[in-house]
């Protein structure tokens, strides 16, 4: 027997209470894991979509806070950007979340300039790419094909117009996998936004260095009032939805942390009160006060760690279920980085220490002579 086994034994002697405590903590941690994973995944997914396209910089309106910035007239800006050093391509992108068909969930509809590099990262798995710029066809991501129950040569109704599915593709980004892609010209036409794009994707040549990127940004700032050149990461960082979801996950961490610490505090305090005489015995037989504190901390950390580990599993499971729900498919691509999960485990240890601190101090301060007579 050692301190740890004694701590386990003390927890096990009240299985119902320990179970409730662990359940409460695991629910909180599950919420933290799920929300944070979704928030980070949302951010990562957008960034992945931008990065996968090979875009070096994005030029858009300064005030853009939405997942996709509001559309603007591209022509003047596009022409100006083409004259910047190292610029290989400046490609417009228009996007809208639309319901496609009467009973289908809304999906992203992207309009990409025909023949641009934006298409290069997609892998065609069925059918063909669209031909002429104005050919009324679309290609759809594999997830979108599944969600919309569409195959090659089926038709899709988008904003009252019929489009034939020319091909089905796969993309490294789940957002694109769940999307419908058409030529920019078609997208501008059906959305009644002629000449407009949400963002301009800029691809630079290989010789462009970090300093060139910085110079590009500065030049946009100086010469194109109202516009900004940013990386995909910066664009995603400005995204209101990403900000809100991150704020929510932070708030959840705070609330779950407070509740978790309080639950552990309550449990350990009850346990210490019940075990006053035992602690008196341990002090009498020579346990040092710091050993008593270690015992209490061990118990509280075991509770929070158990709750945390269960919470991580439950959180990941909940996210997995959400990802597979019909209405959520293609919208969630949760990310659980090892560093984050280690952080959650660290949070659990902190919760255990925070929740066990007062009970541990109380136990360690007991006077053995009085504690021995405690009933």
């Amino acid at each position: 027997m050692n301190l740890l086994s004694l701590a386990f034994g003390n927890i096990y002697r009240r299985p119902a209470r320990a179970g409730l405590t662990v359940s409460a903590i695991s629910l909180g941690i599950a919420a933290v894991v799920a929300l944070t994973g979704i928030a980070w995944g949302f951010e990562a997914s957008w960034q992945k979509a931008n990065d996968a396209r090979g875009t070096d910089l994005i030029v858009t309106r300064i005030a853009s806070e939405n997942a996709m910035p509001s559309p603007f007239r591209a022509e003047r800006v596009q022409e100006a950007l083409k004259g910047y050093p190292h610029v290989r391509q400046v490609v417009g992108l228009l996007s809208e979340m639309l319901s496609v068909g009467e009973n289908s969930p809304p999906v992203f509809v992207f309009g990409w300039a025909s023949g641009s590099y934006l298409w290069d990262h997609l892998k065609l798995v069925a059918g063909r790419w669209s031909g002429a710029d104005t050919e009324p066809v679309v290609v759809i991501g594999s997830l979108a094909a599944e969600l919309l129950h569409k195959r090659v040569d089926d038709t899709l109704e988008i904003e009252g117009q019929q489009f034939r599915v020319a091909g089905i593709f796969e993309s490294p980004a789940v957002i694109e996998n769940g999307a419908v892609v058409m030529s920019l010209t078609l997208a501008q036409q059906i959305l009644d936004k002629p000449g407009k794009v949400n963002i301009l994707n800029v691809k630079l040549d290989e010789s462009a260095a970090e300093a060139d990127l910085a110079a590009f940004k500065a030049r946009v700032h100086d010469t194109l009032p109202g516009f900004v050149a940013i990386t995909s990461g910066e664009l995603v960082g400005k995204n209101t939805v990403v900000r809100i979801s991150k704020a929510m996950s932070h708030a959840t961490i705070l609330i779950a942390g407070l509740v978790g610490a309080l639950v552990v505090f309550n449990t350990m305090l009850m346990s210490i009160n019940e075990r006053t005489r035992e602690i008196g015995i341990l002090l009498t037989v020579g346990w040092q006060r710091r050993t008593i504190m270690k015992l209490v901390f061990s118990e509280s950390v075991i509770l929070t760690l158990a709750g945390g580990l269960i919470g991580i599993v439950v959180g990941i499971a909940i996210t997995g279920i959400l990802e597979h729900l019909e209405v959520m498919r293609g919208k969630i691509d949760a990310v659980f980085s090892p560093a984050f999960l280690v952080g959650v485990v660290g949070l659990c240890v902190l919760l255990g220490i925070a929740g066990g601190l007062f009970p541990a101090l109380k136990a360690a301060r007991l006077r053995p002579a009085q504690a021995l007579w405690h009933e």
Partner: protein
């Protein structure tokens, strides 16, 4: 012409003021009404929306999609409503205009104005919904002597009630009570009454959003008719800086010649 985030707000009822927020208590009712009217000015806007009809029995219809594009300024306004989906309303158009404080006039046509237009009643529901062309122009903001009639709370938000009346017997709506969120400049609830003081329609903002310009606009709102049928409206796309293509209002130009010689309009 001052450009405002009138787009989604064109929807009468979901207007956001372009001017910086001011405390409603400090503004005279006439000033608020004038600010609401000016907030609708726009060189061009486009908005698309889903409308779900909910019958008094609770039965919900499949949503209809439509788009509205238009222009508004002190001299009047023009707009075109186009049915997008389902098939039965696809490419059915309603165009309407108001010149100055004059009557609101509307025409309807299919596919293109060149194929022929028919005079339309601006009070008729748009594609069987509770959306009414006449309301889209919000003529009540020009009515004289608006009065403040207390405060209310709509969906957790405080607002001040403005009562606007017209003596014009030609007007189908004689009184409007609009509860305006003075801080966000949103008409959170608008009630329209006829000459016998019967409530004809109520428009309530259910959900708002921040636009690119930073202004708050309605994203979801509902219109309840006298028969208690409700139209739930969700704006899913908008452009507050829309370049109106030439020919968009061709039907109105054609009809203008007729209107100039006859009095078909409803004020």
């Amino acid at each position: 012409m001052r450009r405002v985030g009138a787009l989604l707000l064109l929807m009468v009822l979901t207007v956001a003021l372009g001017a910086p927020a001011a405390c409603g208590d400090e503004l005279a009712p006439a000033a608020i009404a004038e600010a609401m009217r000016q907030a609708r000015y726009s060189d061009g806007f486009a908005v698309r929306m889903n409308i779900t009809l909910v019958a008094p029995t609770g039965q919900r219809s499949l949503p209809i999609k439509l788009s509205i594009v238009g222009q508004m300024d002190a001299a009047g306004g023009r707009l075109v409503i186009r049915g997008i989906a389902p098939e039965r309303i696809r490419n059915r158009f309603i165009a309407a205009e108001r010149i100055g404080a004059g009557p609101i006039r509307a025409v309807a046509y299919r596919e293109s104005a060149a194929a022929g237009c028919a005079q339309a009643d601006p009070l008729m529901p748009v594609f069987d919904s509770n959306l009414v062309v006449w309301d889209l122009f919000a003529p009540w903001w020009s009515w004289p002597e608006p009065r403040m009639v207390g405060t209310a709370r709509v969906a957790e938000d405080d607002c001040v009630n403005l009562r606007l009346r017209t003596d014009s017997t030609a007007s189908p709506i004689r009184e409007v009570v609009s509860c305006v969120d003075a801080n966000r400049h949103l008409p959170l609830r608008t009630q329209l009454f006829d000459g016998r003081h019967t409530l004809v329609r109520t428009v309530v903002v259910d959900e708002t959003m921040r636009q690119e310009s930073g202004r708050i606009a309605a994203r979801k709102f509902s219109i309840t008719g006298a028969d208690q049928a409700v139209s739930e409206i969700e704006v899913y796309s908008g452009d507050e800086d829309y370049h109106v293509p030439a020919g968009t209002f061709a039907a109105l130009d054609t009809a203008a010649a007729v209107w100039n010689h006859a009095n078909h309009a409803i004020p």
